[in-house]
Amino acid sequence: MAAPSEPSDNELIKSCLSGSQAHARRLYDRYKNYVARVIRNMENDPEAVQDLLQQTFIKAFSGLKSFKGDSGFKTWITTIAVNTAKNYRNKKTRRGRHPKVSIDHTGEENGAALELKDESANPQKQLLTKEMGTVIGAALDMLSEEHREVISLWNEGFSYDEIGAMTKTLPQTVGSRLHYARAQLQKILTPYIKGNKE
């Protein structure tokens, strides 16, 4: 969240609308990490993530006039990011280029361990081993788009109501999708959890 001296989102948006590139950049800096994470959680390919991030911000800034302000900029840009990633995945699937899931390559970060950043909505101070990160990445890849979408938004701390509003579904549907997404992930992960931990 913004420090007291920082301009609010709405203040930045107002000056973006009157042409301030500097304030557009500030708004971008405020949300870039968040948007990148939401997109990556929908789509693993790092090149695509960069491209979809660009598309999301271009759409958001170009459509700023139509931003009503009642739902907040974060919710608004999240909807754009999710839809942009979904369109990309739909096109990719239609072209038959949906990647086959591989356990050793999920197009992810390198390094021995993936250390968690504190800025996420569900910060857990624990270290995820690279192997486990890769397994989870592959498990996530096997989820349907709807399940991946709710899991990704849930992880950013949105309530079922908020996710429902963003994905145009009922909160009960969100709950049910999360239940099945978790069940599916658990099925894949349980042997690893039992084998690796405790």
Partner: protein, 164 residues
């Protein structure tokens, strides 16, 4: 596993997210206290959920400055038209259906013929011309300051030219 356990199993995910109403939440808690099997399921669910969350919270490596270099010029002016053209033209393997090309061609001809007449009545001041080229052809856009109505020419390359 009893049918109550099945019912509880379905509610554990929402319970974990604190999304149950007060009454249901109490019912789940009361059951968990008395049922070791559901307690075990809940523990497993929480464990895998935490791991998934840890993985989803890892920050992806994106070159944000490079991304901004692409965003900034796009939002500076006339973003809608540029985006439209890019989506329409720069896709590899894209081709303009003949009928659409003919329509656009006719429109371009119409403008070409009518522009001098139009000009004599109401002077048109040119603001700027943009063009985009691709393997399948090129497009030129003329923005007139007076009407802010863009005039678009689409020029298809001949099939021979298209071959790489």
């Amino acid at each position: 596993m009893t049918s109550i356990c099945e019912d509880i199993a379905y509610k554990l995910s929402a319970y974990l997210d604190n999304e149950l109403g007060e009454a249901e939440k109490n019912r789940v808690e009361a059951h968990l206290e008395n049922c070791p099997s559901c307690r075990g399921s809940f523990r497993e669910l929480k464990k895998s959920s935490d791991l998934v969350s840890a993985r989803l919270s890892v920050q992806p490596s994106v070159d944000f400055d490079k991304a901004w270099q692409h965003i900034e010029p796009e939002i500076r002016r006339r973003p809608a038209i540029r985006r439209y053209l890019r989506a329409f033209i720069v896709k590899p393997g894209f081709w303009i259906p003949a009928s659409a090309a003919a329509t656009v061609g006719a429109a371009a001809l119409f403008f070409a013929l009518c522009l001098p007449v139009y000009k004599s009545q109401r002077p048109v001041s040119l603001s700027h011309v943009e063009s985009v080229s691709s393997k399948s052809g090129s497009v030129m856009v003329l923005h007139t300051a007076k009407t802010s109505q863009p005039i678009i020419w689409i020029m298809e390359k001949s099939p021979k030219e298209k071959r790489p």
